[in-house]
């Protein structure tokens, strides 16, 4: 098979280059739009520091209320790795949490994520009484992957952030996120009311 003439190859190559740039550029445009026009939510978070071989040092974040009690039929309809929509509600204290999960968009405030697992579990009644435990109730749960699992930091700062967070136990941390059309982009990681960089500088002085 003879190769195409040089001009044809060049034309095709330019088209492919443009397609790649547009594909990546479109994603940048989308994320910028989410950050500028999305609804702001605050999720409570607890940072831990691991390493992503492809994308560098980041602070791993875990949000609360990722597990939902569902019916048996619903549980069986979810499989690990399924792409789902997690609904978001803002509480009176100003923090947001996830309230439910669905296969399709509900049109409300929600964000896309994946199913971590879907299993039944026995819920034993907690009791201080001595004697045999009462029979467990079998409940069905679905847990989602944290939609905002990481906050990238300077390689030198990420372990310091984790160390300082452990040192100052009890300090509150939450992640500020903008959500629009099922996409969420992290604005900042807030620790003790301050952006993480600022808090880190103050913690270093103490």
């Amino acid at each position: 098979m003879r190769p195409f003439p040089r001009r044809t190859m060049l034309f095709i190559a330019v088209a492919v280059c443009l397609a790649q740039a547009v594909a990546i550029g479109t994603s940048v445009f989308t994320y910028e739009e989410v950050l500028s026009k999305g609804t702001r939510h605050l999720f409570k978070a607890a940072p831990v520091d691991p390493y992503d071989a492809f994308r560098g040092r980041y602070v791993a974040l875990s949000q609360e209320s990722l597990r939902f009690s569902v019916s048996k039929e619903e549980m069986e309809s979810f499989k690990r790795g399924d792409e789902v929509w997690a609904q978001i509600v803002t509480e009176a204290d100003g923090y947001s949490r996830f309230t439910g999960v669905s296969h399709a968009s509900t049109g409300h405030s929600e964000v896309r994520t994946r199913v971590a697992w879907a299993n039944p579990e026995n819920d034993f009644e907690s009791s201080q009484e001595v004697g045999p435990k009462k029979p467990a109730t079998l409940r069905f749960y679905v847990q989602i992957e944290p939609p905002f699992p990481r906050f990238y930091m300077n390689e030198a700062k990420a372990p310091k952030a984790e160390k300082a967070y452990r040192k100052f136990a009890g300090v509150s941390a939450h992640v500020a996120v903008r959500v629009k059309d099922g996409r969420g982009v992290i604005e900042d990681l807030i620790v003790d009311g301050k952006p993480i960089d600022e808090w880190l500088d103050d913690a270093a002085k103490e």
Binding site: M1, V14, V16, C17, R55, P149, N154
Partner: protein
């Protein structure tokens, strides 16, 4: 001493000759190497090396400076810089395609193709970091794989094709969640590289281009087949043996062996090695005992069925071709799926796996002995050693196999040892030597 004007003229003519199909790119490179190393001034090479090194060092320093100040940069600047790896690598590829000289040079094409591949990955990674995107390694690999699909063709780069296959294989392994799913993306990604592989095969079936792409496909096939265990269950050994035997036979039938370095044609050696290794592994009854009934109705079942059908048909086709060409040597190991098929059928009669393991052991013994006998006749000591290794390994594994009773093992080893001695005596008589 070669005329300098001749060499200058040759340098100018070579790209046109390559484009016209008079010589292939590899021959052109060999011509350049032949005249270039001897004829060109050592100063020119040194200057080139220093300039490349200088550019790399400056580039590395600039990257580190940017990295040091990355946090200080506004987000839109970071997003813009994230495009740099992609745009620079694209510019390099366009310059190679646009220049006759560079387009005819394998070094330029490979360098451009590989840097374009890595440029795509770097840009995706930097964008993810800039916007603190979650997502898994699996998501990253899939986007990378699809965006870089055309690179191998446009840059005419074997390295680009190999990278595409390795990324696809890595994605499959990452995407495996313990419950095999039908990953149509893998079929699409691997299938898209097939025309490129065919072109490399036609150019030179025993050349490094096809060999490297073959390695890529071996990784893809391995990544594709491993997660099918859950769905295929007891059919899994037959699936793996059919795939390996088909690759082994195809490597021996279609890739010329003469004059090629072993590493340049991996199909037959690697697939053959996998067959022998799996024979040793499946010689244990405890493994057959652990194979569950197939779960073809669960997720991944359809792919397992398709895989079984495809693997079996491919193997049968290659086996038929080997039989028609009279390649007995290939038929020896290439018929392994027959033995494994029989062993698989026996599981239903003997769920403990004892009978299946006996079949595998007997087959392995037969292959080993046949390799020793035919190798001795042909004077091929490597083959003799391979056969002796197989027989010796099987004997050792049975010797230490605590899942079997001591007495049966002792009797079996003694009987086989006696058989060997008798055969040896007979062979010695045949060649007229006293043992």
């Amino acid at each position: 001493m070669t005329d300098r004007s001749f060499i200058d003229r040759l340098w100018k003519e070579l790209p046109g000759l390559v484009e016209a199909g008079v010589v292939d790119a590899e021959t052109a490179d060999r011509i350049r190497l032949h005249y270039g190393e001897g004829a060109r001034s050592g100063h020119a090479s040194l200057m080139l090396a220093f300039s490349v090194l200088g550019a790399l060092l400056i580039g590395g320093g600039v990257i580190l400076l940017i990295a040091h100040n990355w946090d200080e940069l506004p987000r839109y600047v970071r997003a813009a810089i994230s495009f740099a790896p992609l745009l620079l690598s694209q510019a390099l590829v366009l310059s190679v395609i646009g220049s006759e000289g560079r387009r005819g040079s394998a070094s330029w094409r490979e360098g451009a193709g590989i840097s374009w591949h890595l440029g795509v990955a770097a840009s995706i990674a930097l964008i993810s970091q800039t916007y603190n995107l979650g997502g898994t390694v699996q998501d990253f690999l899939l986007v990378w794989a699809f965006l870089s699909l055309p690179i191998a063709y446009l840059a005419d780069s074997v390295g680009g094709a190999l990278l595409s296959l390795l990324v696809a294989a890595s994605w499959r392994m990452e995407a495996f969640s313990g419950d095999a799913q039908f990953h149509w993306q893998l079929w699409l990604l691997a299938g898209a590289t097939i025309p490129f592989a065919i072109r490399q095969f036609r150019k030179n079936p025993s050349g490094p281009g096809f060999a490297l792409v073959s390695w890529g496909y071996l990784f893809v096939i391995g990544a594709w087949s491993l997660p099918l265990l859950a769905a295929a269950g007891r059919f899994y050994p037959f699936l793996l043996f059919s795939i390996a035997a088909a690759l082994y036979l195809a490597g021996r039938l279609f890739v010329p062996a003469e004059g090629t370095h072993r590493l340049r044609s991996p199909l037959a050696p690697v697939a053959g090695g996998v067959l022998l290794l799996m024979l040793l592994i499946l010689s244990y009854s405890t493994l057959w005992d652990k194979l569950d009934m197939p779960h073809l109705a669960r997720r991944g079942g359809l792919e397992a069925v398709l895989a079984l059908a495809l693997a079996a048909l491919s193997w049968l086709f290659c086996l038929y071709r080997a039989w028609r060409t009279g390649d007995r040597e290939s038929l020896l190991l290439g018929s392994a799926p027959l033995a494994i098929g029989a062993a698989t059928a026996l599981i239903w009669l003997d769920p403990g796996g004892e009978a299946s393991a006996v079949v595998v052991n007997l087959f392995g013994l037969g292959v080993g002995v046949a390799m020793v006998v035919t190798g001795s006749r042909e004077g091929r000591f490597r083959k003799v050693n391979g056969g002796m290794f197989l027989v010796g390994a099987l004997a050792f594994l049975r010797f230490v196999d605590s899942s079997q009773g001591i007495l049966p093992r002792a009797v079996a080893l003694i009987l086989i040892g006696v058989a060997f001695l008798l055969v040896n005596r007979r062979l010695a008589r045949r060649v007229g030597r006293t043992p």
